[in-house]
């Protein structure tokens, strides 16, 4: 059963690509497959390639892959509390990340750790080294994770929902931090998120995923000004805006399809307001026009979709 199909993208230095989609659309799996961290049962890479700086790293031995992880390609995860080992101090964990790839002694590693903590703006960094993860706030923990990811000056940073578990006020700070680091180091950033507000703050380019496929890709400004795929349009309509009709929130009717029973052609057909007969017979390919990629047979211009009086589904399944 393929959960991710035909997903292709390119990351450039100093640029942030945002991979957007609902939970379950395969974006995390895509990210994990870049550094081959898929949980092998049950997931596997069956096709495709990953090219780093011109070199194909798809089939390299595990040891090579390991030397790349954390050093050339780093990843930051969603929930910083559970992503850190609770029985080790953060100092230990950062030093561990360093010594795994560099031949430095303990003192040098420690100094490097202090430096990077300073850079991510953690106050009194040397004291903080002896703290345990549960002693820090969520925002600080995420800074630590970012520090750990950047300490060896990687070329690529993959951030999987880095702000989802944080307060809104902290979110902005973390995003700003990522932005700043990207500029300073000319990082290529792959940002995974389901939150369009996040996208609007930091993304240079946006790729929208649905049910394991990319359905639209364009520069960020384009996506917000001129979304062409009905799904993207639906996502944008769902954002509550201060100016718009605040009484009814629009939601895309229907649900993400179960991978075991996919629609026969276009995967969005069951929920699409502009669906035509062809959508149920031919699977649309990804077409390019002016740097704007689109997978749709019947795109319509974007009008902010108004909320329809919600039909209350009275056939609620009774629990046993």
């Amino acid at each position: 059963m393929d959960v991710v199909r035909d997903v292709s993208f390119q990351l450039n230095d100093g640029e942030t690509l945002a991979l957007v989609g609902e939970s379950g659309c395969g974006k995390t799996l895509t990210a994990l497959s870049v550094i081959r961290l898929l949980p092998d049962p049950p997931a596997r890479i069956t096709a495709g390639s990953v090219v780093l700086d011109g070199t194909d790293i798809t089939g390299v031995p595990e040891s090579t892959m390991r030397s790349l992880r954390g050093d050339t390609v780093s990843m930051v995860f969603q929930e910083p509390l559970t992503s850190l080992d609770p029985v080790f101090t953060i100092g230990d964990q950062i030093e561990e990340a360093i010594t795994a790839h560099r031949k430095v002694n303990r003192r040098e590693a420690r100094d490097m750790a202090v430096e990077i903590l300073k850079e991510v703006q953690i106050p009194s960094p040397r004291q903080r080294l002896d703290d345990y993860p549960h002693q820090m706030s969520g925002g600080m923990r995420q800074r630590v994770m970012i520090a750990m990811a950047l300490v060896l000056d990687p070329k690529v940073l993959i951030a999987d929902e880095p702000t989802t578990a944080l307060d809104v006020t902290i979110q902005a700070q973390i995003l700003e931090l990522i932005r700043a680091e990207q500029e300073r180091r000319q990082l290529a950033v792959l940002l995974i998120t389901h939150n369009l507000a996040v996208v609007s703050q930091v993304a240079d380019r946006v790729a929208v995923m649905y049910a394991g496929e990319i359905v639209e890709e364009a520069p960020a400004s384009e996506i917000f000004a001129n979304p062409r795929h009905p799904y993207t349009q639906g996502l944008l309509s769902s954002i509550p805006s201060a100016a718009g009709d605040s009484k009814h929130l629009y939601t895309i009717p229907g649900r993400v399809p179960d991978p075991r029973v996919l629609p026969p052609a276009c995967l969005f057909a069951p929920r699409c307001p502009y669906v035509i007969s062809r959508c149920w017979h031919d699977h649309p390919g990804l077409e390019a026009s002016n740097g704007h990629l689109l997978r749709c047979w019947n795109p319509q211009p974007f009008i902010a979709l108004k909320a329809v009086e919600p039909e209350v589904d009275r056939s609620v399944a009774t629990s046993e």
Partner: protein, 296 residues
């Protein structure tokens, strides 16, 4: 804890003294002795007084450092304490060490190689280890290694060859339980989020498993140690008796069967104290191992 000890000592004192049968004095009196001789003997030992009086006299003795003497052979209990406690400690610590040395690596292996033949074998062994009564295991081992093969001595103390079989038997059940616990704890923690993050740092797999996952997984295992020590005391009673290993367990069983009050009393209290301490230490150890509790 002191309260418990006080209550226990009183209960034990009362219970032992009021038991039917009376002291047979380890051969001083035979069951056929006449009433007069029996009464005279009891008077000499102060057993004809009301029990609570006896209790306070006893407490007085202890305060003076006089732990009493065995009714069976007159050895002062302090002597018995030194030799037998030492023997039990040797046996117990060996068994404990053995069990951890076997159980933890096996548990880790079984978890990492889950559902392979290694795992099935280990789990099968664990189930057996938990099911076989230790005295029967002892008999079988003695049968093979002593009677048939003549390799190991079947009883006595204190050369190393004599230690092997008792230690193995004593360790058996605990090893099985610890192994199962290690395995399930490992399986649980292998699924933790931080494991993925550690791999993303580029750490080699063995480091992830041993340095990080195991460390987390051992926390419940460590907290189990106190309990294990308690159970070990119980099993030691039987194992020492079978192998005639002159430890506290052997002494206790023997003294109870022979109504040697002072000995039975003192050593049962000692064991109870030991169990209580062990449980207490286990709580502390848990706190040390788990930083979330420690620092809070």
């Amino acid at each position: 804890m002191v309260v418990i000890l006080a209550i226990s000592s009183a209960v034990i004192f009362y219970a032992l003294r009021s038991a039917p049968g009376g002291p047979s004095g380890g051969g001083v009196l035979s069951p056929l002795s006449s009433q007069e001789i029996r009464q005279a003997y009891e008077k000499r030992l102060g057993l004809d007084q009301p029990i609570y009086t006896q209790y306070f006299i006893y407490l007085g003795h202890i305060a003076n450092g006089d732990l009493g003497t065995s009714l069976v052979n007159g050895t002062p209990i302090t002597e018995l304490l030194k030799t037998h406690a030492r023997n039990s400690l040797i046996l117990g610590l060996t068994a404990l060490l053995l069990s951890y040395l076997i159980a933890i690596p096996l548990g880790v292996l079984a978890a990492v190689k889950r559902n392979t033949w290694v795992d099935q074998l280990a789990m099968g062994g664990a189930i057996l280890g938990m099911g076989i009564p230790n005295f029967w295991l002892a008999l079988i081992l003695v049968y093979f290694f002593s009677l048939r093969l003549g390799l190991l001595p079947s009883a006595g103390c204190c050369d190393p060859p004599q230690l092997i079989m008792p230690a193995l038997v004593l360790a058996a059940e605990g090893t099985a339980v610890t192994m199962r616990m290690t395995r399930s704890s490992m399986l649980e923690h292998l699924r933790d989020d931080f494991v993925r993050a550690l791999r993303a740092k580029g750490l080699p797999e063995w480091q992830v498993v041993i340095r990080h996952v195991l460390r987390n997984a051992l926390i419940p295992v460590i907290s189990l140690t106190g309990l294990r020590l308690g159970w070990l005391v119980g099993y030691a009673l039987i194992v020492e008796t079978i192998f005639r290993w002159p430890g506290v367990g052997y002494l206790l069983v023997d003294s109870v069967l022979r109504r040697d009050y002072p000995v039975a009393q003192f050593f049962s209290l000692l064991l109870i104290l030991f169990v209580l301490l062990a449980n207490w230490f286990a709580d502390i150890a848990y706190g040390l191992a788990n930083p979330r509790i420690r620092v809070a």
